[in-house]
């Protein structure tokens, strides 16, 4: 059967959920061959095997951490040459998209980014994408070369599908460009203990209506009662109330959870771009005319300073 190359996103051997979703999609197109790079690459094999990887190519070298993007492109290209896959799938992180795009140039292929679904077609994989702040859905194909496609988190279920997952070290010779951009230092983001924003099943967000960094604990408390991730509008981020890494929207993260709760957020098009594909949407806003209410399954016109703590309380009580 044809093989599909899947780029693995992992942190020191812990495979991130979007990669497992990617394996589900890859199996619709062929046998997944995974590529894991950097520290802990080998440790990814068991979980990848459990989710359908027939083979796990690995490579570790200091270059992957010390220089930006290009060493990983060199490795992906080496894997592509070895495997001759029918498609190359990469998780849609900022870095993943750049790696995929540079590979596409090198192998003379087209690229599709931010797919939300994939199916096999007679002319190669058909990708579903959201366009214009998710007001349109498109279906696209690659017409030149081996399809290179990046896929957004939450695009497919994680499914167990045990396969061999044989580990095979990959030989990579780095290109002249590999050491072009040096990573001089790296500061890891402190973990909050909450779920990853893009991977969370529930996201609770706060906007300008939260009215100050000192009030964001209300949003956090609601999030914690639901085991949710915390999001913020750009207005809240620009005001310095919450970190940019939590921003939802066009220039922040795009999320597609089972439940999204917007508190004190008006629902500007750039915010909608990042959340309107959420399954269920709830809003709390004191302005009945706020555009966010056009999107909601359930909306409360009211003051979040009353509604949010009451809701948090109620949830915590019911949980006992």
């Amino acid at each position: 059967m044809a093989e599909v190359l899947v780029y693995v996103d992992h942190v020191d051997g812990a495979v991130r959920k979007p990669t497992l979703e990617l394996l589900t999609l890859a199996r619709r197109l062929g046998d997944p061959v995974a590529l894991a790079l950097g520290a802990g690459a080998q440790a990814t094999a068991p979980v990848l095997a459990e989710h359908g990887a027939v083979k796990v190519l690995t490579s570790d070298a200091p270059e992957y951490a010390d220089y930006l993007v290009v060493p990983k492109v060199d490795a992906l290209q080496a894997a592509h040459e070895l495997v001759s896959p029918v498609a190359v799938l990469v998780p849609s992180s900022a870095e993943g998209k750049e790696i995929a795009a540079r590979l596409a140039v090198r192998i003379g292929s087209g690229i599709i980014t931010d797919a939300t679904d994939l199916e096999a077609g007679t002319d190669g994989p058909i990708a579903t994408q959201a366009a214009f702040a998710a007001s349109f859905t498109t279906k696209s194909r690659i017409t030149k070369g081996v399809p290179v496609i990046t896929v957004k988190p939450n695009s497919a279920p994680v499914e167990a599908a045990p396969a061999a997952g044989t580990v095979q070290p990959l030989t990579v010779s780095f290109s002249a460009q590999a050491t072009g951009t040096k990573v001089v230092s790296r500061t890891a983001r402190e973990s909050t203990g909450r779920p990853e924003l893009t991977e969370a099943a529930i996201v609770v967000s706060g906007g300008r209506g939260v009215n100050g960094a000192e009030n964001f604990h209300l949003i956090e408390a609601l999030a914690d009662s639901l085991g949710a991730a915390v999001g913020a509008s750009r207005a809240a981020v620009d005001a310095g109330w919450y970190p940019h890494s939590n921003q939802v929207g066009q220039t922040g993260k795009s999320v597609s959870p089972q439940l999204y709760i917007a508190n004190g957020i008006s629902g500007a098009i750039q915010h909608r771009a990042g959340m309107q594909t959420s399954k269920t949407i709830i809003a709390v806003n004191k302005d009945a005319e706020a555009p966010i209410f056009d999107l909601v399954d359930y909306g409360i016109v009211g003051d979040l300073f009353n509604v949010v703590p009451q809701l948090t309380n109620e949830i915590n009580t019911r949980k006992g």
Binding site: S140, T143, K144, T251
Partner: protein, 261 residues
Amino acid sequence: MSLRIVVCVKYVPDATGDRHFAGDLTVDRDDVDGLLSELDEYAVEQALQIADAADDAEITVLTVGGEDAKDALRKALSMGADKAVHVEDDELHGSDVMATSLVLAKAVEKTGYDLVICGMASTDGTMGVLPAILAERLGVPQVTLLSEVKVEDGTVTGRRDGDSASEQLQASLPAVVSVTDQSGEARYPSFKGIMAAKKKPVQSLDLEDLEIDAAEVGLAGSWSAVDSATQRPARTAGTIVKDEGEGGKQLAEFLVSQKFI
């Protein structure tokens, strides 16, 4: 030696307008008002600041687009860029990112550059991959998605805030940079700037000038194809209630009914 900066800017349909696809499934650029992509204003702003800090610098703004795209160039010139290059050719209609990047790479090389600055993503296509592709095509370092950027002694440094970490990056010029909307608010054109922009040179180039074969670009020459585009059905109207003191409890009931708690 003068520092030659090229800023890539895109003319895009206004996001607050009714954006849609044309009959051939390309972005409809006629029906909706266009403007200089807000995210490219940040690139122009950083170019201006880098030029200010350099002894001697020249900023060229570059766009690939139809006749209207001149508006984007004019806006960038009125912010303070020195000159503009407009690549326009009927054959370019429907070009995807691979085709557009090919044209931009040729135009950047023809213009001459030490530093190329892009926005983080276009607000219509929102791919955010063109800067990386441009670096690949030009064979120079990519220093992308910077929330802070500085150029000194032929070296570009900057901060890239990633998913799990914040990285300090460094590369030698020539290089391709992209900046995010965290890099600092873009200035508004002054009246003086608007007047001065009218006299600044705008060079027009077509595919022949760039020695690009029309078969490599446009709808037919592109590397990908859109087969269908459907408008997402409007969400069914939800329940909206006014808080009379029990709003939080009502929400909790809803969450229970939907099995979230």
